[in-house]
């Protein structure tokens, strides 16, 4: 089970994602370079957070043209698991691998805090370790996390169970007050129609190493791992 963490100029959570796989999950992981056209032998790809290309213009706007992203699209088209975290999510929406867009937080400020999320759909390769309705704590740290998509798109995603996480309070309540950034329907994480490309603003990797006091996020990577393992054993 090989994991790849895609490195762009300005990615600054690549090492954190690497750490989550290498040290916490203890699985083989390597870096993928944005200029590469061939990603080699990987089973899952993490597009990490950070400020690719300085977040200039719009977060993800420049990064998604990288040669490696063409390869990532191909990998996803063949059913590979891709997760974009924070800036990675922004890159995935910019590259149209996920619907919608991430706008500036409605409070107009960068927001770093430990955030409670409610798991909305636990029946996906990214969330199977949770139960729907669970609340988990993942840190958020972003300036552009305000998810927007056209109403038709949102309706469709809701109907398809494509919303995986919503911002909530510790009791699992989801409303405007528990919404830190103004995202439509408090959306914190989504998956594509096919179910193999996921994007989320909160950082599961930062919530994986218990030394730092948080570990709910490990479930995302374990879910992916189990999916890959069962997938492999079926083949």
């Amino acid at each position: 089970m090989n994991w790849g963490v895609l490195l762009f100029p300005g990615s600054n959570c690549a090492e954190d994602c690497f750490h989550a796989i290498d040290q916490v999950l203890q699985k083989p992981v390597k870096y993928l370079w944005h200029k590469d056209t061939d990603l080699g032998d990987v089973d899952a790809i993490i597009i990490p957070g950070g400020f690719s290309y300085g977040d200039h213009l719009r977060p993800g706007a420049i990064a998604h043209f990288s040669p490696a992203m063409t390869a990532v699209k191909e990998f996803a088209a063949n059913g590979g698991l891709v997760i974009g975290i924070c800036n990675g999510f922004q890159i995935l929406t910019e590259s149209k691998m996920l619907p919608g867009s991430l706008m500036q937080n409605r409070g107009l400020k960068f927001l770093c805090q430990d955030q409670t999320l409610k798991v909305d759909n636990a029946d996906t390769p990214f969330t199977s370790e949770y139960k729907s309705g669970d609340t988990v704590v993942f840190p958020i740290a972003h300036n552009e996390g305000n998810y927007y998509a056209a109403p038709e798109t949102i309706a469709e995603m809701e109907a398809n169970g494509q919303i995986l996480f919503r911002y909530s309070n510790p009791a699992g309540l989801v409303n405007d007050e528990t919404n830190p950034n103004g995202s439509i329907n408090s959306i914190a994480g989504i998956v594509n129609r096919k179910g193999n490309v996921m994007g989320m603003m909160p950082h599961p990797e930062r919530s994986s190493d218990i030394t730092l006091g948080l570990s709910d996020g490990k479930g995302v990577f374990v879910s992916m791992l189990k999916h890959l393992e069962s997938h492999q054993s079926r083949n």
């Binding site: 090492e15 954190d16 770093c112 930062r206």
Partner: protein, 744 residues
């Protein structure tokens, strides 16, 4: 430009910021009159900012060595040993003047600049902190704008470059109204074998410039920072530097990749006076000369004059001294990161600093002479205000009727209230090492792969130093160390930021000298040598006068096992609350006098450095023994505020009974030094008290943690405080918000 013509008749060196006697000295060094380029070199290198002309003679007081000190002052940053052949390096730097003029960019470039100092040591930057001082915003949109821009600038730079901003302080006083203080600190980590030096050895080796293009930004910033902040002047405005954290991130990655190979003999960041000071310093250390051709420097603007290229303060640039023949290899690595690495000159054996333009010599002076800035021992005179302020007696103010209201007001005071408004804008978790996040006494970072960590703090107290510079400065060092020990860290060393007014005024020089003496004394007592620092003088405006004397202490400590990490919040109902140290009737210099009575008066509380050391050793010992559930030092706002903070953070109440014959405001809010508040389970509390007795330290069980959310304080059988936790929490948590909201 008509000014320039007049200037031709005037003395050019005066315009450049040099005195007549300095000019005389430099002509004697050179054996002739300098040309414009040469004059510019001296003007920059002999400014306070680069040459430490007023502060250098005072540095001799500092203790700079110790068993853990690998590198003291003299390099880009000091280095301390944290065992296992691992070291951390840290330094702080001020960016006051730039931040006053363009707060967002000024603060941002301050963060970027200090990160490059750390990078130049060969280290990976693992944490940033900042110490901010502002005037009270009151109803003023301007100050609010300034505050929010500075914080935004710090956040944006740190967040983008991927270095967590894990701590610092924000303090308010109208002494900073015209002249805010923005000091940034950075900490780096590396293996001992990775240490780099700022040295230009090896005749024939190449000087390579890496990173950003050179433009006219920050023209003359070094001498600019050494001037009073007078009414805005358009020439100074041209001095705004713009930060590019994205470039800095690439620079970090590329430099560290280059450092892994054996290509580089020396590294220096480009800060004040850019190419000039970085190359002079490296050459001087090696006893060599250098030759630089300004035509080779990649520029953003056409037609820059040679001296402009030499002193430009364009950000995100570094100077590498590269072994002859390795230039292409270095460039290849930079190229991978879409950066350039360009040879702009080389190391020579003649000890001269030679500037060429397209191969033609445009300036040449001895390297040593540029480094030999004259120093000044100035006249010191005790500030006149001390007579008045020291005359304060506790009886001058009445004990307030409503102590409940006072506590609420104290918890919402700008200096005391929660700074979450600020650090919510900082990514304090990136890099995944943050064990204790902002909001506690010290930030704690783990060292990956090891059971150990480092504690980092930044502290100051301008009011204390204004009222008693020597003891005030001692107290700040002591407080920093208290913040370390209560967090489970053993204090190792400090870096100091000397923010003062114009030292040519005898009263300011007195404050400077006394503060340095105070720092030195406390550092010796606590075994925390000074391994680096920064001076920012001339912090005054015609309208508001000089700032409070504000030495800022950045301290690091070693957490020997992560099991020792301790935080301030109460952990469980039923635990015993123990007060360590003696509470005296001391109101002088307190936050309480200032915020409640509007008085900046009195003397700084007594401080016995021997007792301080003993008490801190005790705290660390009981924490390491696992006897302690929570630990907090008593600082601004004294006992009542510290208690409330531990309750709010733990969402638990407390029931306290004291028997001290002290007026109740001094009891609750006085700032007697060397005090700590611990909580411990019933199993440990006896050992805690017994160990204190053995060491001769005052310790008393003063109450219990309770689950009913009420803070109760009784003294001598009568009730002083009985207050709902939620009310305290609201005051504490909304204080900053209120400050930042206009009353309109």
């Amino acid at each position: 430009m008509s000014k320039m013509k007049v200037g031709m008749e005037e003395k050019l060196w005066i315009k450049a910021g040099l005195t007549d006697s300095e000019y005389e000295l430099l002509t004697s060094h050179m054996g002739r009159e300098p040309n414009t380029v040469e004059l510019a070199l001296y003007a920059q290198m002999w400014s306070e900012h680069c040459g430490y002309t007023h502060t250098r003679p005072l540095f001799k007081h500092f203790l700079t060595t110790g068993p853990r000190i690998v590198q003291g002052p003299g390099e880009n940053a000091g280095i301390v040993d944290i065992d296992d052949d691992e070291v951390i390096t840290f330094k702080l730097e001020s960016h006051n003047h730039p931040s006053a003029i363009a707060p967002f960019q000024g603060a941002a470039t301050g963060v970027g600049g200090i990160i490059r100092d750390i990078l130049a040591m060969g280290a990976y930057p693992i944490a940033s902190l900042n110490s901010l001082h502002f005037g009270h915003p009151g109803n003023e949109g301007n100050t609010r704008w300034l505050i929010s821009e500075v914080i935004h600038g710090i956040g944006e730079y740190g967040n983008c470059v991927g270095v967590p901003t894990v701590g610092g302080e924000v303090r308010f006083s109208n002494a900073y109204k015209g002249n805010p203080l923005v000091n940034a600190m950075c900490v780096g980590f590396m293996k001992k074998s990775q240490i780099k030096k700022a040295i230009a050895t090896g005749v024939g080796n190449s000087l390579m410039i890496v990173g950003n293009l050179t433009g006219r930004d920050g023209m003359g910033g070094a001498s600019f920072a050494s001037k009073d902040l007078e009414e805005e002047n358009d020439a100074d405005r041209g001095a705004i530097q713009v930060g590019d954290p994205f470039m800095e991130k690439l620079l970090i990655e590329a430099c560290l990749e280059v450092f892994e190979e054996d290509y580089v003999v020396g590294v220096q960041d480009m800060g004040a006076a850019g190419i000039l000071s970085s190359s002079v310093e490296t050459a001087s250390k090696a006893g060599n000369g250098v030759e630089i051709d300004v035509a080779l420097v990649p520029k953003r603007e056409a037609k820059m004059r040679p001296e402009e290229v030499m002193i430009s303060e364009s950000q995100e640039r570094m100077l590498l001294i590269v072994k002859k023949g390795m230039e292409d290899k270095v460039n290849k690595i930079f190229h991978k990161w879409d950066l350039h690495a360009v040879v702009i000159g080389h190391v020579t054996d003649d000890g001269m600093y030679r500037v060429l333009e397209d191969g033609k010599k445009v300036g040449e002076v001895p390297v040593w002479s540029l480094m030999d800035a004259p120093t000044y021992l100035l006249e010191a005179e005790e500030p006149a205000h001390l007579k008045h302020t020291l005359s304060f007696r506790n009886e001058d103010v009445a004990v307030p009727e409503d102590l409940h209201a006072v506590l609420i007001k104290m918890l919402g005071a700008p200096d005391i209230c929660s700074k979450e408004w600020v650090y919510r804008q900082y990514d304090f978790r990136v890099q995944m090492n943050t064990v204790v996040k902002p909001g506690s006494d010290a930030a704690i970072l783990r060292i990956k792969g090891r059971d150990k960590g480092v504690g980092i703090t930044m502290d100051s107290n301008g009011r204390y130093c204004y009222l008693n510079p020597r003891r005030g400065a001692q107290s700040i060092v002591a407080e920093s160390a208290r913040n370390q020990v209560v967090s489970g860290a053993e204090p190792i060393a400090i870096t100091d930021g000397l923010n003062f007014g114009n030292p040519e005024k005898p009263e300011v020089y007195y404050q400077l000298e006394q503060s340095i003496l105070g720092i030195s004394e406390a550092c010796r007592a606590l075994d925390t040598p000074v391994i680096g620092g920064n001076a920012s003088l001339y912090n005054q405006t015609p309208e508001f006068g000089a700032i409070y004397p504000t030495p800022i202490i950045g301290m690091t400590g070693l957490v020997k096992s992560l099991k020792h990490v301790t935080t301030m919040e109460f952990k469980q109902a039923g635990d015993f609350i123990v007060l360590i140290g003696e509470t005296k009737a001391e109101l002088g210099a307190s936050e309480y006098l200032d915020w409640i009575h509007g008085l900046v008066m009195g003397d700084v509380p007594e401080l016995d450095l021997k007792l301080e050391r003993k008490s801190q050793d005790y705290i660390l010992a009981v924490i390491r023994k696992g006897l302690v559930q929570s630990a907090h030092d008593l600082g601004d706002g004294g006992l009542a505020v510290a208690l409330a903070e531990s309750c709010i953070a733990g969402d638990l109440g407390a029931d306290i009974s004291l028997d001290l014959d002290i007026r109740s405001d001094a009891l609750l809010f006085g700032e007697s030094q060397t005090r700590f508040m611990l909580s411990a389970t019933g199993k440990s509390v006896d050992s805690l008290i017994q160990m204190a007795a053995e060491k001769g330290i005052e310790a008393a069980v003063i109450g219990r943690v309770t689950k009913n959310k009420q803070i109760v304080i009784n003294n001598l059988g009568s009730n002083l405080i009985n207050i709902n936790l939620a009310e305290c929490a609201t005051a504490f948590n909304t204080g900053f918000d209120k400050l930042m909201k206009s009353d309109r």
